[in-house]
Subunit: 469 residues, 2 copies
């Protein structure tokens, strides 16, 4: 039996907790802000610190991987069982910018513990959640008496996630031979709340574009010509307004083709979550909910495709009035996609829809930025069940399910490596990602350590890869 006995894991974690926290504090002191060119040396120092830590943890391979930007870290620890599944843990070692002046109660790069919470930039996003895997794997080994993990364990910890992962897709394509795995475990997400531990099962995809509209060759006088020629700012508005029908469903023909609908069981599971609309609106800084008819707020943000205006602009935007018909306008749209939608087909549908709607006299260009595919792991996937069991043992209570409305490198990992993506994160919404006074709750962090300690054994024991491949 490779599953670690719970008491042994807990004893090991408790015994090494202080040293683990000392390590985390040391790492958090390195201001690895990838967005700040002046911090490039710190980002590199952070990568080197982690390589050293992983080597000390016992990873036979631990190395810095260069990219065109900031360095990533790769580590590998093969199982003694050649038939064991291979798991790749994903996280990042760079952090968001932070200064005391932003409203921090203590220096963001001088970690402080107050009331069982460790305050520092990167505490939850993502250094704490990366580092729990070091103590996790050691607890797994200690409790099971192994000298190598029950799974072939790999880690890929990137250094530019907070800068939009500009070199990440290229990195994993170039290194696909060494990254090959049967499952990816992303530790860069969170849970519903302290009282409601959850596992995320997927992220939405993204296709976003800019539509430039051109009317008159120059701004023209709205008195002399207005009302008699097409106006590109008006046409930009008409395009945006036509995106949705009266039920706030996306009105582009073919948009919903292939959409994987929520099952009754998923809707029921979402509905069982203790959702408080007023609290959610506070988090959204918004005054009212609004969205596709027939779906709840959680269904809308987690499981339904959407179209959003991210920006619109055209004509005069300075103070006061200016009576012109503008020469041009633009609108930036983003489409969140769900399983079953193909980003390239959506792009084509949008292109055709735009071209058909514009009147004579309006020229247009449409530019799509990179597309991100949606990524969903079915509730009954055996590897997902292992994550659930591992967390339920750590938390001592049932684990529920969420999804993530955003889009991320998870889909890149799944698509390039051809492996399902699992999410193991213990952060809670109040942890303040990207905000002042980011923190991680130390008891939850230890639950992360425990979950990781249980996970490798459970996966190796219950998931026979050839069956699912």
């Amino acid at each position: 039996m490779s599953t670690a006995p719970d008491d042994a894991v807990r004893a090991y974690v408790e015994a090494h907790r202080a040293a683990f926290l000392d390590d985390l504090v040391a790492w958090l002191r390195i201001p690895s802000v990838s967005a700040d060119p002046g911090r490039a040396g710190d980002v590199r120092r952070s990568a080197e610190w982690l390589v050293e830590k992983l080597a000390a943890t016992g990873f036979p391979t631990a190395e810095v991987w260069e990219t065109a930007g900031a360095p990533a870290v790769f580590a590998e620890w093969p199982s003694s069982d050649p038939d064991a599944p291979t798991v790749l843990v994903y996280g990042h070692h760079d952090v968001q910018p932070a200064t005391l002046e932003d409203g921090w109660h203590s220096d963001p790069f001088e970690p402080q513990t107050r009331d069982g919470k460790l305050y520092a930039r990167g505490a939850a996003d993502d250094k704490g959640q990366v580092l729990f895997h070091t103590l996790g794997v050691r607890a797994h080994l200690a409790a099971t008496g192994r000298s190598a993990p029950a799974v072939h364990l790999k880690l890929l910890i990137e250094g530019e996630e907070e800068s939009g992962s500009p070199n990440f897709p290229e990195l994993i394509k170039a290194r696909a031979d060494r990254l090959g795995c049967d499952a990816v475990v992303v530790s860069d997400t969170g849970m519903w709340s302290r009282d409601t531990p959850t596992v995320c099962t997927g992220m939405r995809g993204l296709a976003d574009c800019q539509i430039d509209l051109y009317g008159p060759e120059q701004d023209i006088h709205s008195g002399s010509f207005g009302g008699a020629v097409p106006n590109p700012a008006m046409e930009a508005a008409r395009l945006a307004a036509a995106l949705h029908d009266a039920d706030l469903r996306v009105a582009i023909p073919g948009f919903y083709d292939g959409v994987l609908e929520l099952t009754e069981r998923e809707r029921q599971l979402f509905a069982e979550l203790p959702f408080d609309e007023a609290e959610w609106l506070r988090t959204a800084h918004s005054r009212a909910t609004s969205g596709e008819t027939g779906y709840t707020t959680l269904e809308r943000i987690w499981a339904r495709p959407t179209a959003e205006v991210n920006g619109i602009g055209g004509g005069y935007q300075g103070p006061g009035g200016k009576t012109i018909v503008p020469a041009s306008a633009q609108v930036k749209l983003s489409f969140r996609l769900v399983e079953g939608q193909d980003a390239e087909e959506i792009q084509q549908a949008v292109r055709e829809w735009v071209a058909q709607r514009l009147p004579a006299g309006i020229r247009h260009e449409i530019t799509f930025w990179g597309a991100t595919r949606p990524c969903l792991t079915p509730l009954d996937h055996p590897a997902l069940q292992s994550v659930v069991r591992a967390m339920e043992r750590a938390f001592g209570q049932p684990v529920r399910f969420t999804r993530e409305g955003g889009s991320g490198p998870a889909a890149d990992l799944r698509d390039v490596l051809g492996a399902p993506v699992l999410f193991l994160g213990i952060s809670v919404p109040s942890d303040g990602w990207h905000a002042p006074n980011e923190k991680v709750e130390l008891d939850l962090l230890m639950k992360g350590v425990e979950s990781a300690a249980y996970l490798w054994g459970d996966l190796a024991e219950t998931w026979r890869v050839p069956v699912t491949r």
Copy 2:
């Protein structure tokens, strides 16, 4: 008979043409750019030059009128007949900015005559058209043997028209006692073309506003929240898109209440103008016409009320994409108004329409800039008939009718002074107002002199003011 005999007028104009052009060139050399604070001294010099010129012409009163901005010029020459009608000529002595680098073939403030055209900033807009009144009134006197004009003649030449006349309404209200008149003659417009002399009969009014829309308190993540809260950029687009119905009629309830419809005769007169759509589109720098169903292009721009988006903005407008639901958006709208519409009622209708259309969760503010009333003089107004006769004598051919789609101080003059507004302008579309290589055609300029010379006598003879007051 106070009407000037045509031969005598022509002989006088011919004899004084060279001196008149020397005067105009001297005035055009003064770069009276009201928009440029560094040219404030030149604008004042321009006003002083004109005062001196008007005094030399014989106006017993000629003075600079100060405003909170650039100075205006006022002059007055009473008729010897106390019962004669009083006419106020309106024009402006400031000019648009211009530099050689804009694409001028010669220095914009060193006038050059080439092929019968005088090239200089302000040649047509508006110094040439103001100055023709000086030679015009002298020709009128010379040909009729009078020592004073047949009408009580007043001139008001403002110094900030090219800067939006910010102090003009206040000026005419403050000086209404000295500006009292029976008719206003605006010499700051143009004709259809060299071959088709025309009289303008009116301008449209204007109500313009900015609508600010507020959604989330800050930009929020479109993955985490998009599709589940209202988006102010989308609502700005929906407002703009809802402005018109499928026939491109303005869809705001009450918008067309009271609109003075075109008569069959006016539509016929417009239709008789040699309108060339391709040429008009070139002037509009546009690729296609578009507008209210059931009306021609000329009817749309001259005689129909419109709604136009002058500017729209919200969310991210920089390079690339940014997946946010923006916190705010704004849209700037202008409404051109025609006789029968009340600017204040339109403002109220717009306010109510906006308030009713916005969903819960979107807060809004609406700000109207100053409103300009429409100004239309009926085709059969006796004073308008005098302008037509004066121009027909000068041009030796029938004069047709146009309107002006823009809005201007004409309505202010009409409303404050309670007098009908007539338009006497000889500029042609190719004169390049506000553009490089502005010019005036010298033969047309002399037709302006002649028209002015005939007008005062015709008005005094045929228009008995008490009848029309």
